[in-house]
């Protein structure tokens, strides 16, 4: 019975916690610029994420190690340090974007510019980390994130031609704006396959003391939770396709995206968008801060745990305090969070091999997983998607830089 409850909670928190500024921005851009054509990118990213999340949970449950712990132990400190630099740098950029997302949501609600919100928002995020427990953060933020279901409601209310939309699930080549098409595709992949999710999920499995009996639970949560989350991203894309594409609006600023729900939901749409982004970005900001702190703590062998009083894991708490404070700085100077989002999503795709290749080695290592090693399906799907993301990123990022 306890496991059934955990499955339900796990799926619900996966859905509520799925969207964040990266997935919403990239999906909205895709729908506005290319109608349904890029649905395949969301699908591909989600499928890959399902496998990666399932693997993260399985590694933790069987080996009782988080991904970071296993990476350092298996590959040694020098290699681990390289991965740390890459992953922390990119996750930091995403954190800046998420804090900015909270600020922008408050901006459209109050009219007060997001730089003014930088300090209050990062203080609140820090306070929740300082005082909160893992359960409160993981479940609380994600349950609030369920307000993002408004996107699905809006998609249904706008009566899209589901047949035409379904065609978008198959990869297609763009007519014009080729460079932009592949760049947005790469950004969607980077937004879906966020490494910080993997590190957070495996740490969570250890905090929740999973063991081998949790393998089926893990599979359920990963599959259904992430699939439903993927549907949410697709809903955002579909709504953007119906609201912005016919008008020829290209989403470059948060203010433009804010009108996403007002057509389908006249009375509450604007408010729901603001609240969706606020809670979604808040949840993501908490997860990323934890993920970065976990990376340092687990890699260097510090005491760590969100349920501990801060002075019992002082280096861990010090790390996330510094990270959150630092992430507020670009926002204070008015750096546009949407621009940071787009850049960090594309960079994530380019850096995926750094996170995933060692991870795949671990998932096939009998010392860590015994008989629960990866099958050929997991290995193949992940390897192919990561290869595609990397190649597309390496090609399209320079083209986009040249183009703009």
């Amino acid at each position: 019975m306890k496991k059934v409850l955990q499955i339900t909670l796990g799926i619900v928190t996966s859905v509520g916690g799925f969207l964040e500024i990266g997935s919403v921005t990239t999906a909205a851009q895709a729908g506005a610029a290319f109608r349904y054509q890029l649905l395949w990118a969301v699908l591909l990213g989600t499928i890959c994420l399902i496998f990666l999340v399932e693997m993260s949970g399985r590694l933790a449950a069987v080996s009782k190690h988080t991904i970071v712990e296993a990476t350092r132990e298996r590959f040694g400190f020098p290699f681990f340090f390289i991965v740390l630099i890459g992953m922390v740098a990119i996750s930091f950029l995403v954190l800046v974007a998420e804090l900015g997302g909270i600020g922008l949501s408050l901006q459209i609600l109050t009219g007060i510019g997001f730089p003014w919100w930088a300090i209050p928002v990062s203080f609140i995020v820090w306070l929740l980390m300082w005082k909160g427990t893992f359960g409160l953060i993981e479940n609380g933020a994600s349950l609030l994130g369920l307000v993002t279901l408004a996107f699905v409601v809006a998609a249904v209310k706008l009566h899209p031609d589901w047949g035409t939309a379904a065609h978008g699930l198959l990869p297609s080549f763009p007519g014009d704006q080729k460079a932009k098409y592949w760049f947005v595709a790469v950004s969607i992949l980077g937004a879906s396959i966020s490494p910080y999710l993997m590190y957070f999920y495996s740490s969570g499995a250890i905090e929740d003391e999973w063991d081998e009996t949790y393998i089926p639970v893990n599979r359920f949560i990963a599959t259904f939770g992430m699939s439903l989350g993927g549907f949410l991203s697709m809903a955002v894309l579909v709504v953007a396709a119906l609201v912005f594409y016919p008008k020829g609006i290209d989403i470059q600023k948060f203010e433009q995206a804010s009108m996403l729900l007002t057509t389908a939901l006249p009375k509450w749409g604007f408010f729901l968008f603001a609240m969706s982004m606020l809670f979604a970005c808040l949840g993501a900001a908490l997860e990323i801060s934890l993920a970065i702190a976990y990376f340092f703590a687990q890699g260097f062998g510090w005491n760590w745990g969100e349920d501990l009083v801060p002075s019992r894991d002082s280096r861990f708490c010090f790390t996330y305090t510094i990270i959150i404070m630092a992430a507020a700085i670009p926002l204070l100077f008015g750096v546009d969070p949407i621009k940071v989002t787009i850049i960090s999503m594309a960079l994530t795709s380019a850096a995926l091999p750094l996170a995933i290749v060692p991870f795949l080695f671990l998932m096939n290592d009998p010392i860590y997983l015994g008989k629960h090693r990866n099958g050929w399906v997991s290995n193949t799907v992940v390897a192919i998607v990561v290869l595609i993301s990397f190649v597309l990123a390496v090609i399209s990022i320079p083209l986009e830089i040249i183009g703009s």
Binding site: G76, W130, G301, L308, V309, P310, S311, R312, S314, R315
Partner: protein
Amino acid sequence: MNLVRDVLDKELLDCEEEPMGRVDGLVMHVGKSSQPRITHIEVGGPVPWERVHPALARLAKRLAGMWGPKRAGEVRIPWSHVETVGRDIKLDVEARETGAIAWEIWLAHHVIERIPGGGSEEADDGY
């Protein structure tokens, strides 16, 4: 026992199963006729950075000298204190006594405990 695989980079737990860092380095005695054996475990300081690049080790030493606990160099724990080698390496000493968590305690006293809600790191109940 494969030294690299089974000992290096593994997590160290003290006699109360508290984490106290990782095995960043090993000091070995290589005799003429006998097998090389580990004499000490090295934790912290410039030891792990030495493995990446010597310049980083020098930088780590300099930064540690400017700030933080006075006893912030690397810590050497005699191999005789190792109880078990398994998923982690369990020692029969208290973390505090080895000096391996000097930074942890220093940060707790000088930064964390000064912030409201930070608690006290000497309290028995850590929750």
